[in-house]
C-alpha cells in the first residue's frame, strides 16, 4: 500500500486540531496514513501516541523553530521533505485556509495537480478518485490527477469513521524555512469556544436566521431555538451584513456549507446563494411571512407565518414534550 501523507494541523498551543481524525481516515481509505506535523524542537513526541490512536501508521515530525512565526512556509517545507523521502501516492491537507495555502504552494513546488474540496476518496486500481459536491450539491463530480503527483484538500468533517489504531514508525527531521518569501505572523488570536453549542461545520442540526429577524437583539430567538434543539446557529449573508451575528455563522455559497439532518431557516428568503450552502440537508424546515419565498421550494415543512409567534410556540412545545 502506498504512503499517503496527511498534513496535520496543530493549534497555536500545540494541540492537534479536530480535523486530524477525519483526515487520517481519508488517508486510510487510499493507502497507509503518514501524519506529517510541524512542531517546535522536542514537542512532537508528545503527539505520536495520539496520532497512532487516530490511525497514523507513520509520523513524520518536522522540527522547525519558525512554526509559529512564518505563514505556512514551515508546513510546505515539511511536506516537501516528506515527499522526497517517502515517495507518497498522494498528499492530503484539510480544505481549510491553511490547508489550501499549503496545497497551493507545494503543488507548484513539486509539480503536482490539485484536487480541491474532496468529500470522499477511493482507489480504483492505481488511480485515486476524489468525489466533490459542486454548486451546493447540485452536481456530484469525480476527479483525479494525471501526469504527475496528486494533492487533495479534503472537506472538513465529512469523511466519517476512523482509521485503525497503529503504533507509528516515527521519523524526525529538523528544518529551517526560507523567511524571505513568507509572510510573518505577528499575533495569533485563537477563538475560545465559550458556548456549549455545537459548531456549524459538521453539525447534525442547524437553526439559521436571516434578515427577517430584524435586529441583533431579536436574533436571540435563533439562539433560543438552537438551544432547545441542541443545534448550531447559522445565518444568511444579509443577517451577517446587518451585524446581527458573526461572519463565521454565514451559510451559503461564500460561507459554510452544511449538510445536517435538520436545517431550520427562520426569516430567510432562500436566495440561490444561500441554498447553495444548505440544500443537501436531510430535512429542511422554513418559517417565512412571504408565501412566495423561494425557500419554500426546497422545504420539507414550510410555515407561512411570523417567526416571532411561531418560534416561541415551537420552543414551548419542545420543552413541554421534554418534561413528559
Amino acid at each position: 500500500m502506498s504512503n499517503i501523507l496527511a498534513l496535520i494541523e496543530v493549534s497555536s498551543n500545540g494541540d492537534l486540531r479536530d480535523s486530524t481524525s477525519s483526515l487520517l481516515a481519508a488517508a486510510a481509505r487510499i493507502g497507509s496514513p503518514v501524519a506529517v506535523v510541524v512542531t517546535t524542537p522536542g514537542a512532537g513526541s508528545a503527539l505520536v501516541e495520539r496520532l497512532g490512536n487516530l490511525g497514523a501508521a507513520q509520523v513524520f515530525l518536522a522540527e522547525i523553530d519558525q512554526g509559529g512565526t512564518l505563514l505556512v512556509a514551515p508546513q510546505v517545507d515539511a511536506l516537501a521533505a516528506a515527499v522526497s523521502t517517502l515517495a507518497p501516492g498522494a498528499i492530503l491537507t484539510v480544505n481549510s485556509v491553511e490547508g489550501r495555502d499549503v496545497a497551493a504552494r507545494l503543488g507548484v513546488r513539486i509539480g503536482a495537480g490539485l484536487v480541491i474540496d474532496a468529500v470522499n476518496l477511493r482507489s480504483e486500481g492505481l488511480t485515486i478518485v476524489a468525489t466533490h459536491s459542486v454548486f451546493g450539491g447540485a452536481y456530484t463530480v469525480e476527479s483525479t490527477v494525471q501526469g504527475g503527483p496528486m494533492i487533495v484538500t479534503v472537506r472538513e468533517g465529512v469523511i466519517e469513521g476512523a482509521a485503525d489504531a497503529a503504533v507509528p514508525v516515527v521519523t524526525t527531521v529538523s528544518l529551517t524555512s526560507d523567511a524571505s518569501n513568507s509572510a510573518v505572523i505577528d499575533e495569533v488570536i485563537d477563538v475560545v469556544v465559550a458556548s456549549t453549542r455545537p459548531g456549524l461545520r459538521g453539525a447534525t442540526r442547524v437553526v439559521s436566521g436571516g434578515r427577517g429577524l430584524g435586529s441583533q437583539e431579536k436574533f436571540s430567538l435563533v439562539d433560543q431555538l438552537a438551544d432547545a434543539l441542541g443545534a448550531a446557529v447559522g445565518a444568511s449573508r444579509a443577517a451577517v451584513d446587518a451585524g446581527f451575528v458573526a461572519q463565521a455563522c454565514q451559510v451559503g455559497q461564500t460561507g459554510v456549507t452544511v449538510s445536517p439532518q435538520l436545517y431550520v431557516a427562520l426569516g430567510i428568503s432562500g436566495a440561490i446563494q444561500h441554498r447553495a450552502g444548505m440544500q443537501t440537508a436531510k430535512t429542511i424546515v422554513a418559517i417565512n411571512k412571504d408565501a412566495d419565498a423561494p425557500i419554500f421550494d426546497i422545504a420539507d415543512f414550510g410555515i407561512v407565518g411570523d417567526v416571532f409567534t411561531v418560534v416561541p410556540q415551537l420552543i414551548a412545545a419542545i420543552e413541554s414534550r421534554g418534561k413528559k
Binding site: Y139, T140, Q261, I303, G305, T309, V310
Partner: protein, 260 residues
C-alpha cells in the same frame, strides 16, 4: 505603487449554473458571465488606496475567454488604469495549475508592487490560485485577509482561519487575497465608462508570455474531471399557513421524523 488586481469572469451566481456532463467544465454559455463579486471587492481595495495615494497605478488582469473583455472593461470603468487579458485557445479548461502559471508569467511581464485577488472564486475555484501565483513568483502571500493595511513598503492585515484570526504582514512585493468582509465595490460612473474606452488594454497569448505548454507543463500533474452527475432537484413538501397553531404542528412534524 503599482497594484495588479486579479479578476475572474464567472457565471452569475444569481442564475442556475450548469456543468457540461462530458467534460465536467462549467457551461459558460449557459449563464451570464460577470466579474466575480469578490474580485470587484479586491479592485475596490486597490482603488480606495489609489484615491488616497495619488500616483498609484491600478491594473486589472484576467485569464479567460474572449468574453472576459467585458469584465475587464468594467474594471477600467470603475477606475483601473489599464487591463491585461491572457487569452489563448490552449487555456480552455485550464486547471488551477495552468491558470496560476499563466497569471504568474503575465505578472512578471507587467511588473508590480502588490497583487490583490479574491479569496475564492464562486465557480468552483478552490481558493488556491493566489498562493500558487506567489509560489511561482517566489514571493510571500497572505490569503483570506479580512482587513488590509497597505503602506509604501509592506502590507499587513488580519487573516481569518476558521479557528480564529492571525495578524500578519509581508514586505512588498507580495500577493494577497481578500474576503467578502471587505467593502462592496463602487459602481462605474458615466465618466469612467467613457474614459475606459481610451485606456491601455493588452492581450497576451501564452507565446507572448514565453509559455509553451508542452515544455512548461511536462511532468506536471493536471487535475481532470472523470464524471459529472446532476443530482435530482429537491422538491417542496408540506406547506401550511399559520393559523395560531403552526408551532405545535411543527413540533409534531419533528417528533414524527424522530428529529426531536
Amino acid at each position: 505603487m503599482k497594484i495588479i488586481v486579479l479578476v475572474k469572469q464567472v457565471p452569475d451566481t444569481y442564475g442556475e449554473r450548469t456543468l457540461d456532463p462530458t467534460t465536467g467544465w462549467i457551461d459558460r454559455a449557459g449563464s451570464d458571465a460577470v466579474i466575480d463579486e469578490i474580485d470587484e471587492r479586491a479592485l475596490e481595495v486597490a482603488l480606495s488606496y489609489k484615491d488616497a495615494h495619488k500616483g498609484t497605478e491600478v491594473v486589472v488582469l484576467s485569464m479567460g475567454s474572449k468574453a472576459v473583455t467585458v469584465g475587464l472593461r468594467k474594471g477600467l470603468a470603475m477606475g483601473a488604469d489599464s487591463a491585461v487579458h491572457v487569452l489563448d485557445a490552449a487555456l480552455e479548461g485550464a486547471d488551477a495549475g495552468w491558470t496560476a502559471a499563466a497569471i504568474a508569467a503575465a505578472l512578471t511581464s507587467t511588473g508590480f508592487d502588490l497583487v490583490i485577488a479574491g479569496n475564492e472564486s464562486t465557480d468552483g475555484g478552490g481558493g488556491v490560485v493566489p498562493a500558487m501565483v506567489a509560489e511561482h513568483l517566489g514571493l510571500a502571500h497572505m490569503t483570506f485577509l479580512e482587513s488590509v493595511d497597505i503602506s509604501a513598503d509592506q502590507v499587513a492585515g488580519e487573516r481569518a482561519t476558521g479557528q480564529g484570526t492571525l495578524r500578519v504582514h509581508a514586505s512588498l512585493p507580495a500577493v494577497i487575497s481578500i474576503t467578502e468582509n471587505l467593502p462592496e465595490a463602487r459602481f462605474p460612473n458615466f465618466r469612467g465608462i467613457m474614459s475606459a474606452k481610451k485606456k491601455p488594454f493588452r492581450v497576451a497569448s501564452l507565446g507572448d508570455l514565453g509559455i509553451d505548454p508542452a515544455v512548461t507543463f511536462a511532468g506536471v500533474g493536471r487535475s481532470v474531471v472523470l464524471q459529472a452527475t446532476k443530482r435530482p432537484a429537491r422538491t417542496a413538501g408540506t406547506k401550511i399557513v399559520d393559523e395560531g397553531n403552526a408551532g405545535v404542528e411543527l413540533a409534531d412534524f419533528l417528533v414524527a421524523g424522530h428529529l426531536i
